[in-house]
Structures are given as structure tokens and as C-alpha cells.
Symmetry: C2
Subunit: 370 residues, 2 copies
């Protein structure tokens, strides 16, 4: 017998994937982390109104969620200054990216991204047989003009660009993104991932006409709104593109409590401002701790700070291992030369204390074992 | 400009989809439904322990869910008498079906299902370019021998079979399913959808060795466990097949509250027994109401009853419209000759009263407008 008979594309995909969660690491080390600072989760949590809405909606969990997420979409359309048909709600940006790639990318179709940018996007492109073309970062920034130039060279149908960027935390003015749209190859769509934009300076969000067919922007309730575990993101783009997701998406895929929680979170602008202030404070704390230990922190427009360990990837990996062994869950950029850095999510005073205590020890170990 | 540049497969897919939720119908009619009996949701709700677990976990919604759903999977492995690596947790059976089809079915690959069976499975097969081959129901049952025979004829890689069946509510003994595995074409996988099996008589669940590569079974917390809005289902199958989902699935796709809620629900066997008893009672109520109105109810092993309106599809559609117009949300099988029926989910005494009051009026209308 020949089981299972996968498609040739599936046969070609790698069996191992890099998605190891902190819970798996905790099981392996036999102890919980003291500070969970590795997944850019929002340790200041969701709006109390969102929490209350989730808890109140729990008793309706016997009902499927509205497959159109109508009420949330209407509020998001208002929030973004677009029409209802320009907004799609989905199971986090990860889920939306998967569907976007599936709509546009078939075997051999060219896609451009930065070398070291969001691995889940690459996972989807590879998963649908696309050909990934990677452009180096420049001065720790994603290089938008170079991405567009490469797209022209390879005839790309899709470019991925995050602003602000993960894993580096850097950003470009939104006006640069808007201007870049006019330079795209004909028919090429820019996937603009704005997952962290609520943490960025004024002017980072691009100014885009609601029905501009050249760009689709992705946003989320996982970061500034503190609801990563709810799995709820949204895409904003031209009505035709947004509607095409209906051909393939999991229509009844939305969690009902997530829908109402996100709606409540969106309306609680006071809590968002509170989180933004706490994140600024924590960014300063991380930068201060880094400086006290002779390291430099990159400027950040996100809820994490990328810290330059000042040496090569091997050294940074030792620092990372030392932190993880001491109960601090952090991650790092995968690709040289950014892998000289480690990436630390913002946290509360208690996590910052753990970090301040642990980093010197991790650095001492890294120096000694080098 | 040529936007968007979809793949040829996406271009070929229908733009309209049949997934209209009750909320959309409520918006269109300008009033809420008095009885929500159309989606086979569980109106008796989830275990109070599950509700408590969901509410307690809400404060952790800032964390992503465990991408391996480890604790829930371990409990499910125990529940099913298999090993951890035989179980995958996913975003409802709908999400799991999509990934299963993506693993196995490429352009033109043959898939066999019953004509009128679960439309979401067909949606996924079409969405990945598969060729659907449909076998008629026989005596309102899915015809497993005929499905297998067709699979031999067309060289199918995948057969879909639900036991109990949706939309008819009928079932076959699990032993028939087990025996059918030996008759499958070489390399053909049976997707055994047991979404409703907790409502079925003893012996309906098939007896399958944990690592049998010829079958993958799907189960859910949406039906007997009353958590449709949480979006959580699971697949049980050979370890190699289960592991292959890791190549493509949305690893961080699970809602964290759904994970803990499902775990608590699974352990509350007392609540499950309560729901099963209530569903039996409601099935009898629906059958009684049907009989009082001169209609016949099909025997059901699910939490819905399919009622034969005794005429053709046009007549049943008029009955359906009459019920919907009077605030009773129900649905019907799409395909003749099953479309002579309407499908009514089990409900509490109050929904049964609404049904008893409304059905005679809907029938009177249907008779008069025919």
C-alpha cells in the first residue's frame, strides 16, 4: 500500500517547521518561564471592556460566529475610513496571509520579501509553491526601493513589507510607502503588514485610497490590543480583492468571543493609549538595561526592542540560550547579519526586573563559553 | 493595470458561496429569529465547567495559544485510546477538512462524496482543483459500498463519509465502516466525519486501529459539547498523516480560550450525558410535531431531525420560507430527492413550542401558494 498519496507540492515541503511555542520550551525545560518576552505579546493585556465582553459572550459559545463578522467589520471600516466591503476579518494576520498567498501565488510564481523578515509569510509562499526572492536589509531596515526593484527583475506578483518591521523594530515614514506604490510593477500587489503600527510614531501608517488595487494592508488585535490568544486580524484593501477571499476562506472560522472582544477593544481608545504609554516606558527600560550591559538597542516603533549583542550570530545565540535557561523567553532574528541581535518584547516592571537581573549573567556565560 | 492577478485555479472558482449565516438573514429580515434551529448548534449549551474555564482563561488572552494544543491533545488521545501523535487539534472540522484536502488533492485529483452531503467539504475540494465525483444517497443513507465502488472507478485519493450523516441524520453501524476499509482502492483515504457521533447509538463509532493509514476521523466540540462558536475540532489518524498537517497548518491558529474550554468540556461527562438525554427528548418532540402536521420525521442519530415534507423540493422550500418568515431559522438539504425535506435542529422546550406553533402556519401557506 502507498499511504498517504500527498500532492507533489506537499511532498516537496520540509517536514520540520520553526514554530516552537513557549509552552513546548517550558515542557522541555521542566519549568515555566519567569518572563514571557519572546513572542511580542502584549503583557499589559487587553482592555477591561474587551475582557468583560468576552466573558459575557461565553454563554453564547454554542452559536457559530457570524461568518461575515459584520458588526466588527463595520466598526473597522469606520476606524480605517473605508467602506464595509474594503475590510475582511480573519483568524489573525497569519491566517489572512495564508489566504492572500493562496489567491495570488501558484507554482513558480515570484514573490519578494526581505531576507530575515516574517517567516510565516515565507512558510505560506513555500506552501503554495511560490518562488521566494529575498532582498537584504539595509542598515537594519527593510529596503522598500530594493524590494520593488527586485520585483521588477523577477516579475513578482506579490511583495511583503512590514512597517514597522519585525524582527528589527525599525520603520519608514508612511509617505515612503505611499510613494512606492507608483513604482510597483504592473499587477504586483504590496502586502503591507502593519501589525505593530499602533506603536509607531505619527505618520508611519501609509495614506492609501480605499480602493487602491495595488496594496492590501494587514492589521491585528494581537499586538496593541493585547488579544493574541483570540486570533483576530483584519485586511483592508480594494473591494474586489477583499471579496475574492470569500472563494477560499473558512467562512465559519471566527471565534465568537474574539469577535465581540475585538469590537469592545477597538472602542476603548483610552486603554490603547495606556498600553502605548506603557510600551514606550518599557522600550526605554530595555534600552537602559542593554546600555548598562554594554549593548546597544535599536530604535523601535513596536512593542519589542531588538538589542545588538555586538558580535556575531554564534555569540547572540549563546546570549539567547543563557536568557532562556534562566527563565526569560526571548527570540532572535534568524538571518545574518541581523542574527547578531536578540529581540525582547516589552513587559511590565516585574519582567523588566527579571531581565535586568538575568542579562548580565547570560552575557557572562556567553563570554566565557565563546 | 491588471489587478489582481489571481492564480488560474482561483479565477475558475465561483464568486458566490452558499455560506449565509443566521445573523445575515436576521439583518435582511430586520428582526432576530425566535428559534435558532438551522445550524445544528447545541441549544443546551456547553458544560458549566467549560464556561468557567473559558471565563477564567480570558485574562490570558494576551498570550498566543499553545501551537501544539498539547494538553488538549493529550486528553483527546486518552479519550480516543490512541497516542498523542495520532491526534491533531484544529479550527473546527471545517478547517481540518481544508487542510486534509490541501495535503492530498491537486488539480484533477479524484474525490468521491455523496450527492447532497456536506457542502463545505466540496468547497475545499473545488478550491484546491480536485474533481468531485458524487454518488446518490440510497434510502436517505449515504451509500458506503457505492462510494467505494466509485472510488475504484475514478481512482479516487479521498472519500468523504459522515457517520451519522448530515443533512439526513441517518447512520450505519460502525462495523460496516471498519469492514469497508478493506475494500478501499490502494492509497485511497476515507475521511470519516464523526461530528455527530456522540448523539448516535452505541456501536456507530467505527473500531479503527490507531495507525491505520487508510482512514482519518474528524470530531468536534461544536455539536455534543456545545462550543460551535469556539471553533475547535480534532482529527485522529495515522501518525505520519497527522504529522504532515504541520507542513501547512496555521500553527498559531488556535484560540486560547477554546483550548481550555474544550479540555474542561471533555472531562465533564455528566454534562455530555445531560445533553444527550435532552437531544433525545427534543428529537421525539420534533417527530411528534411533524406527525401532528401530517409529515414524517426520519430516524436521527444526530442533534437534528430531517422532516420529510412529503412532496417535492419546491414545496419543501415554501415550507422552509414560511418558517423563516415567522422567525424559525431552519435549513434544508440542497439536492433532490433529499430536498423534499427540511432539517430542524434540536432545541429546548421553548424552541419546540415556537416550532409547534409555526409549522402548521408555514404548511398552510405552502399549500395555498403551491
Amino acid at each position: 500500500m502507498t499511504y498517504p498519496r500527498y500532492t507533489p507540492l506537499i511532498e516537496s515541503l520540509p517536514a520540520s517547521v520553526p514554530f516552537v511555542g513557549p509552552e513546548e520550551q517550558e515542557r522541555q525545560r521542566g519549568a515555566p518561564f519567569a518572563a514571557r518576552l519572546g513572542a511580542n505579546e502584549n503583557l499589559f493585556g487587553p482592555s477591561p471592556h474587551a475582557l468583560a465582553a468576552i466573558r459575557a459572550e461565553a454563554e453564547n459559545v454554542w452559536k457559530y460566529g457570524d461568518p461575515t463578522s459584520h458588526d466588527l467589520r463595520a466598526a473597522l471600516a469606520d476606524h480605517m475610513g473605508v467602506a464595509l466591503e474594503n475590510v475582511l476579518v480573519g483568524e489573525g494576520i497569519d491566517g489572512l496571509l495564508g489566504n492572500l498567498v493562496r489567491l495570488l501565488i501558484g507554482t513558480g510564481d515570484a514573490v519578494v520579501t526581505s531576507d530575515g523578515a516574517y517567516p510565516t509569510f515565507n512558510y505560506h509562499v513555500t506552501g503554495f509553491g511560490g518562488a521566494l526572492h529575498k532582498v537584504p536589509y539595509r542598515d537594519d531596515h527593510e529596503d522598500l526601493p530594493a524590494l520593488v526593484a527586485r520585483a521588477h527583475e523577477v516579475g513578482a506578483k506579490l511583495i511583503y513589507f512590514a512597517n514597522p518591521d519585525n524582527p528589527m523594530g525599525t520603520w519608514v515614514p508612511g509617505a515612503d510607502v505611499t510613494a512606492a506604490l507608483d513604482t510597483l510593477p504592473d499587477g504586483c500587489i504590496l502586502c503591507l503588514d502593519e501589525a505593530y503600527v499602533e506603536f509607531a510614531p505619527e505618520g508611519t501608517a501609509a495614506d492609501i485610497a480605499p480602493d487602491d488595487p495595488r496594496v492590501i494592508r494587514m492589521r491585528t488585535f494581537s499586538k496593541a490590543y493585547g488579544m493574541a490568544g483570540a486570533r483576530i486580524g483584519y485586511a483592508v484593501g480594494a473591494a474586489a480583492l477583499i471579496k475574492s477571499f470569500d472563494k477560499i476562506r473558512n467562512h465559519f472560522g471566527m471565534n465568537r468571543m474574539a469577535q465581540v472582544g475585538a469590537l469592545a477593544a477597538l472602542h476603548d481608545t483610552g486603554w490603547l493609549a495606556h498600553v502605548q504609554a506603557e510600551v514606550r516606558r518599557s522600550r526605554d527600560s530595555i534600552a537602559q538595561v542593554a546600555k548598562e550591559n554594554g549593548l546597544s538597542a535599536l530604535p523601535s516603533a513596536t512593542n519589542f526592542v531588538t538589542v545588538d549583542c555586538g558580535c556575531d550570530g554564534a555569540y547572540a545565540r549563546r546570549v539567547l540560550a543563557g536568557l532562556v535557561a534562566r527563565g526569560v523567553f526571548v527570540r532572535m532574528p534568524f538571518v545574518a547579519p541581523q542574527d547578531r541581535c536578540i529581540r525582547i518584547s516589552c513587559g511590565r516592571a516585574e519582567e523588566m526586573e527579571v531581565l535586568a537581573k538575568t542579562l548580565p549573567e547570560a552575557l557572562r556565560d556567553a563570554d566565557q563559553t565563546g
